[in-house]
């Protein structure tokens, strides 16, 4: 009974998760929780295991030990794939297709129906300001346009959970702001969001933080809690202190 309640009150539950690739262990005993319509920020330098954790929560990968629950279901499960909007670190787009064709293809992976699909594509294109370039080949797109398109594809089927691997990496501040505005809009609409980032300033924008360093969770909680726990003024300071001091 208690177990079931826990699963319903939390959108994401990660418990004692280990993951190794070959001999190299990438994640050590990770446990995390996230409520509905919240933003979880996974913070850490590159190589800290953020992407591995993201892939586990997205149900692409399976933990060696421990469990991952999403929306009350144990992952990985194929039927859950349709309830997740995933944006990989690389812009996983087909350069020799137009933006509209890319969206059309990815939308066909979900049971949307022809007219609904068309409508969603147009809504998302408008939302991200890509309508004027919708029929251009993606290989002619700038880096920022590709990122926006990748995000747009994750939003197409209106998933209740968004999982975004470094969505703002390498973007100019204006574009970063646009993307964060969209994330807040999604959150207000009830969507739970998990993002990874190595930008400390973005951490303040999240409801919950998971700080990763060398595959270990060195701190978690709201930005305020994390700072208080480390007796630090900024997230960056907290990260350094929790990580065991000098880097």
């Amino acid at each position: 009974m208690e177990e079931a309640t826990k699963r319903n009150t939390h959108c994401v539950i990660v418990e004692h998760v280990d993951r190794s690739y070959g001999r190299k262990q990438v994640l050590f005993d990770i446990s995390l929780r996230l409520g509905h319509a919240q933003i979880l920020g996974l913070l850490g330098p590159s190589g800290s295991g953020k992407t591995t954790l993201i892939r586990l929560v997205a149900g692409i990968d399976r933990p060696d030990r421990g469990v991952v629950h999403l929306l009350g279901e144990r992952l990985p499960r194929l039927s859950m794939m349709g309830r997740i909007g995933y944006m990989a670190q690389a812009d996983a787009l087909y350069g020799d297709l137009t933006a509209r064709e890319n969206m059309g293809f990815f939308a066909s992976m979900y049971p949307l129906g022809r007219s609904r699909k068309k409508e969603r594509i147009q809504v998302v294109l408008d939302l991200l300001g890509l309508t004027p370039d919708a029929d251009r080949l993606v290989r002619e797109y700038s880096g920022g346009m590709k990122r926006r398109l990748s995000l747009g594809i994750a939003l197409l089927h209106q998933p209740p959970v968004l999982i975004l691997d470094e969505p703002t990496i390498g973007l100019d501040p204006l574009l970063r702001q646009t993307i964060w505005e969209e994330l807040y809009r999604q959150k207000d609409a009830g969507v739970t969001i998990i993002i990874s980032t190595h930008a400390m300033d973005e951490a303040e924008k999240c409801d919950t933080l998971g700080m990763l360093r060398e595959g270990r969770l060195i701190g978690s909680g709201s930005p305020g809690e994390v700072k208080a726990a480390a007796d630090a003024q900024t997230i960056e300071e907290a990260f350094i202190r929790l990580g065991g001091g000098g880097l």
Partner: protein
């Protein structure tokens, strides 16, 4: 349906990539044309130098279309050294001796055969033996080499190009992250493979049909069998090339490494496909061809085009090819586990 979406996407990608389309269609046509020009040429007339030869001998050599040059002993040596003749017949010592230029065994053979034939011929005064009447069950008199191995080439090109294009395209999909991305959707692994086979298969069937049509109708390659049957075999060939190409691509990190697999995967198959006569090789080696899909393709196409074989007789070939395709497609589905465990 998701399989259709994958197939349609591949066709759209090809539709935006005119260079690949043109290459897949034009390059086999170009090479087939070249091959037909090279191997349709007339029988070789050997160039023979003669020293002190009797007139009757010279006359008979000329009747057999040899190109003759008269020399003295020194001139003959010079001509051989400069490769002006393929061999020199010298009657100076009363008995004929034959000295070869020797760098091309084919030409040497032609010279020797011709000279021996003339020397063995009985004197003209005696009544000639009756002419041997030759008929052909398959093919025709002086059948061009191209007619004999053209069917193999048709199968080979279809296999080769589809192998490469599908393999390279799959590597692209792995490397730019789209493969992982589509596996983060409800798409099943077998649906990816089926979509690939359907999309590239559709294009490959068109391509192979065009190559076969061009070879038969335009280049006039010898063909007595049924054209739809040829199409059926080439289409199946394309499927096998596709399945093997995408499977092999799992072992290549980039496009260049895919090309490096060509000498390993493609070239041995070509050797054992029947392009070269393996009759003198040890039996176990001859049988190695039976383990290679291209042998079944080549044998089936040769049977249809040269011997006019019907569907029943190539059923085994088709079965082996279909099974190969299925085997590698299944292996592909399993190999995708690397990207998503489900």
């Amino acid at each position: 349906m998701r399989i259709w979406a994958v197939a349609l996407r591949i066709l759209r990608q090809l539709g935006h990539d005119w260079r690949t389309m043109a290459l897949m269609v034009l390059s086999p046509i170009f090479v087939m044309t070249l091959m037909s020009l090279i191997f349709n040429s007339e029988e070789y007339n050997p160039r023979i130098g003669i020293v002190n030869a009797p007139a009757s001998f010279v006359e008979r050599l000329e009747e057999k279309d040899a190109v003759l040059f008269r020399y003295d002993a020194y001139g003959a040596e010079m001509a051989l050294a400069k490769d002006l003749v393929d061999g020199v017949v010298d009657f100076s010592n009363g008995l004929p001796t034959l000295e070869m230029e020797g760098s091309d065994p084919g030409k040497s053979m032609a010279v020797q055969r011709l000279v021996e034939a003339v020397l063995r011929e009985p004197p003209r005064s005696i009544a000639r033996p009756p002419l041997l009447e030759v008929t052909y069950l398959h093919g025709y008199k002086d059948m061009a080499a191209f007619d004999s191995f053209g069917p193999i080439l048709i199968g080979f090109y279809v296999f080769f190009f589809v192998f490469l294009i599908a393999g390279v395209s799959f590597i692209g999909e792995r490397n730019n992250g789209t493969l992982e991305r589509i596996l983060a959707t409800p798409l099943r692994r077998w649906e990816v493979v089926a979509g690939y086979i359907l999309g590239f298969g559709f294009f490959a069937v068109l391509q192979s049909g065009l190559i076969a049509w061009y070879s038969i109708r335009v280049l006039g390659i010898f063909m007595v069998g049924s054209f739809p049957l040829v199409l059926a075999v080439t289409s199946l060939t394309a499927m096998v090339g596709l399945a093997i190409g995408t499977f092999i691509s799992a072992f290549a990190d980039n496009e260049l490494q895919m090309i490096q697999f060509v000498p390993v995967v493609i070239v041995p198959q070509l050797f054992f496909s029947g392009l070269f006569d393996l009759g003198t090789m040890p039996k176990p080696l001859q049988m190695a061809g039976r383990g290679m899909p291209l042998w079944y393709v080549a044998d089936a196409l040769r049977n249809i085009m040269i011997r006019g074989t019907g569907f029943e007789e190539i059923l085994l070939h088709m079965g082996v090819l279909a099974a190969t395709c299925l085997l590698f497609a299944t292996a592909n589905v399993l190999a995708l586990k690397k990207y998503r465990r489900l």
